[in-house]
């Protein structure tokens, strides 16, 4: 197992390197520069570019950046969003919030999704199934910003149950609405996937055998059905988790959450290269990390894979 993980980590580092390179390259093509204030003269712009070494050739810049990142863990400074501040400071300050709310949403969404998925998958073609299916489809059909605003309008404004905006001093309480808003999609996806999988698993020979053993239905569904169905549900949860953790721009915006999703968009809008790269880097690293976790989880759930991977 350790060998497998070590191998994967090495591979991941290589992938990250390539991603970093591609990002760097992409930003090269981005029109404009971070010093693009309407009042700035061309000469001043050139001075600023020189100050931050942005006038150097592409490969040299990449090489310097790489050295800074690898040797010093220095992701550079922000050019525009938080002038001259260390990007790592800004991103890390926000990452925690994004990750936490993302995970909260994941937890809520997956719990509800599993509940609905199990209900509709095991009580197929009943009204409960129809309800859950419709809920799930609606869940993936309404744009999240509309949903977010409706939630804050109704629950935060009309009934004043929850805080409309995120409050740093009440991190849990004030993140309830965004958590709900974010969890909707996860819930819907989980429900749908789980339902399909569960129907398939419940029709499988081994579940029939468990049935024939006289095991009570709930146990059949939970112990055997759900477990096996989750194997493929986890596949979709992987990338979803990363998206959640790196924050949804939309939800962050509506609830005023200081997360990295909105920071990324802002970074792109103002060409704040280092911010973009670090967030993208964090995203990629998370993506790869989560996929690693998913693979390990597979192994936990599905012993066949454990052996195949030579653990």
């Amino acid at each position: 197992m350790t060998k497998f993980i070590a191998k994967r980590i090495l591979l991941s580092l290589a992938t990250l390197f390539v991603i970093l390179f591609i990002l760097f390259l992409l930003l090269q093509f981005m029109p404009g520069s971070p010093f693009n204030d309407e009042k700035l003269t061309a000469a001043q712009q050139a001075v600023l570019m020189a100050k931050y070494g942005l006038d150097k050739p592409f490969f040299i810049r990449f090489w310097i950046y790489l050295q800074n990142v690898v040797l010093r863990g220095d992701f550079g400074i922000s050019y525009a969003i938080k002038k001259d501040m260390l990007v790592s400071g800004i991103v890390i300050a926000r990452l925690g919030t994004s990750v936490r709310i993302g995970l909260q949403a994941l937890l809520l969404g997956v719990s509800l999704g599993v509940l609905f998925g199990v209900i509709s998958g095991s009580k197929r073609n009943t009204w409960m199934d129809s309800m859950a299916t419709v809920a799930a489809v609606i869940g993936v059909s309404i744009p999240s910003y509309v949903l977010a605003l409706v939630l804050s309008f109704v629950l935060g404004y009309k009934f004043r149950i929850f805080s409309i905006t995120y409050q740093v001093d009440q991190p849990l309480w004030s993140s309830i609405l965004p958590t709900i808003a974010l969890s909707f999609f996860v819930m819907a996806q989980t429900t749908r996937f789980l339902r399909t999988e569960l129907i398939e698993v419940l029709a499988s020979d081994y579940v029939k055998l468990v049935d024939a053993k006289g095991v009570a239905r709930p146990k059949v569904i939970l112990r055997h059905g759900l477990r096996n169905a989750m194997i493929s549900v986890i596949t979709i949860l992987g990338p979803l988790t990363v998206n959640l953790m790196t924050g949804s721009l939309v939800v962050e915006r509506v609830y005023g959450i200081p997360g990295i999703g909105s920071l990324l968009v802002e970074g792109i809008q103002v060409n704040d290269y280092n911010v973009i790269i670090m967030i993208a880097f964090v995203y990629s690293a998370l993506y790869i990390f989560v996929n690693l976790i998913v693979d390990i989880l597979y192994g936990v759930i599905d012993p066949r894979i454990r052996v195949a991977k030579g653990g």
Partner: protein, 333 residues
């Protein structure tokens, strides 16, 4: 019991056709799938809904006297008002306790979905927007299918090193945040339809290619593929004549799922300001614009959202229905 002797006469074996009663129905696969599909109420509802929406997208803008791009400096920000329904107290042109139609004396005007800040008729805009959303979805999906299917088939079929390299590429592509790639794309090219479609192309096909690849991996072990090989079929023939028709069901299902994704994605781009160039407006643009005034003029966001949601809902229902219809395990149902 009737014991007549002659009933016990031996009978010559009937002709062989009668013995060989064919099992299964005689309908070909697609017809069969269609039959199963039509049994699925949800899917049918979805299909009908899409047909209706499509119809409205075609004729909607022409069935009232307004137009989607004509400004009306007087009739701005009007809530919906629909004849007959207004008598029931709904869609009577009031917004809260205020009825601009009455207050401003537009008593003979009916804007079914209301108007926007430029006085454009929302009914027309919604259906024009639907048209564009359909268009985007179709084009994007079309291209996505070509790339996704091609990529997935090659990767899955040739396996080995080819597969490894191709999967690494996919991993890298999906490791880069979509938003970065897409925004850069839209920024480098001019924002607009083409960029949006190209942007969708960059990563939109990945899930399709995954599905296709796994299907191909599953299928290629089937004996009929081996059989084709023993008959001398080359890779091209095997991929397109043997494999493709057999995974088409999965592909169609996947396509149905990626249509809402494309529509959704476009609306997301609209939200962050990377959408279409005005006065073109897709549903996504309408919602994004309407969103900003949601607590003031909710009709601006409600109508496009409802249409979008119904559209997505329908595509999703159809996708679900198709998945069941194409699933051989569901055979006979």
């Amino acid at each position: 019991m009737d014991d007549r002797k002659e009933r016990f006469n031996r009978v010559q074996l009937r002709d062989s056709k009668q013995q060989e009663m064919l099992v299964g129905s005689t309908t070909p696969f697609l017809k069969d799938a269609w039959r199963r599909f039509t049994k699925n109420k949800g899917a049918l509802v979805g299909l009908v809904a899409i047909a209706v929406i499509f119809l409205f997208a075609l004729i909607g803008p022409y069935i009232n006297e307004h137009a989607y791009n004509v400004l009306d400096k007087i009739h701005i920000n009007l809530p919906p008002r629909i004849p007959f329904l207004e008598k029931l107290g709904i869609f009577d042109g009031s917004e809260g306790n205020y009825n601009p139609y009455i207050e401003k004396g537009f008593t003979n005007d009916y804007f079914w979905f209301g108007t926007d800040v430029l006085g454009r008729d929302l009914w027309d805009r919604v259906w024009m927007g639907t048209r564009i959303s359909f268009y985007i979805a179709m084009v994007a999906v079309g291209i996505d299918m070509v790339i996704g299917i091609g990529y997935g088939m090659v990767s899955g079929f040739f396996g080995g090193k080819v597969d490894m390299v191709m999967q690494r590429i996919v991993e890298i592509l999906s490791g880069i945040p979509n938003l970065v790639v897409v925004t850069l794309f839209v920024l480098v090219l001019k924002p607009g339809m083409v960029s949006i479609i190209l942007a969708l192309m960059i990563t939109g096909w990945i899930s399709m290619s995954r599905v296709v690849r796994s299907q191909v991996l599953k299928m290629k072990e089937h004996e009929f593929i081996l059989a084709a090989k023993t008959l001398g079929a080359n890779s091209f023939v095997i991929l397109f004549k043997e494999l493709l028709p057999n995974i088409i069901g999965q592909i169609i299902v996947m396509t149905m799922f990626s249509i809402p994704n494309a529509i959704f994605y476009e609306s997301f781009l609209a939200f962050i300001g990377l959408g279409l160039q005005p006065p073109l407006a897709s549903l996504g643009v309408l919602i994004a614009d309407g969103y900003r005034a949601m607590i003031t003029h909710p009709h601006l966001v409600i109508f496009p959202t409802v249409v979008l949601s119904v559209l997505m809902l329908s595509f999703n229902l159809i996708a679900d229905g198709l998945r069941d219809a194409f699933d051989p395990k569901m055979k006979g149902f």
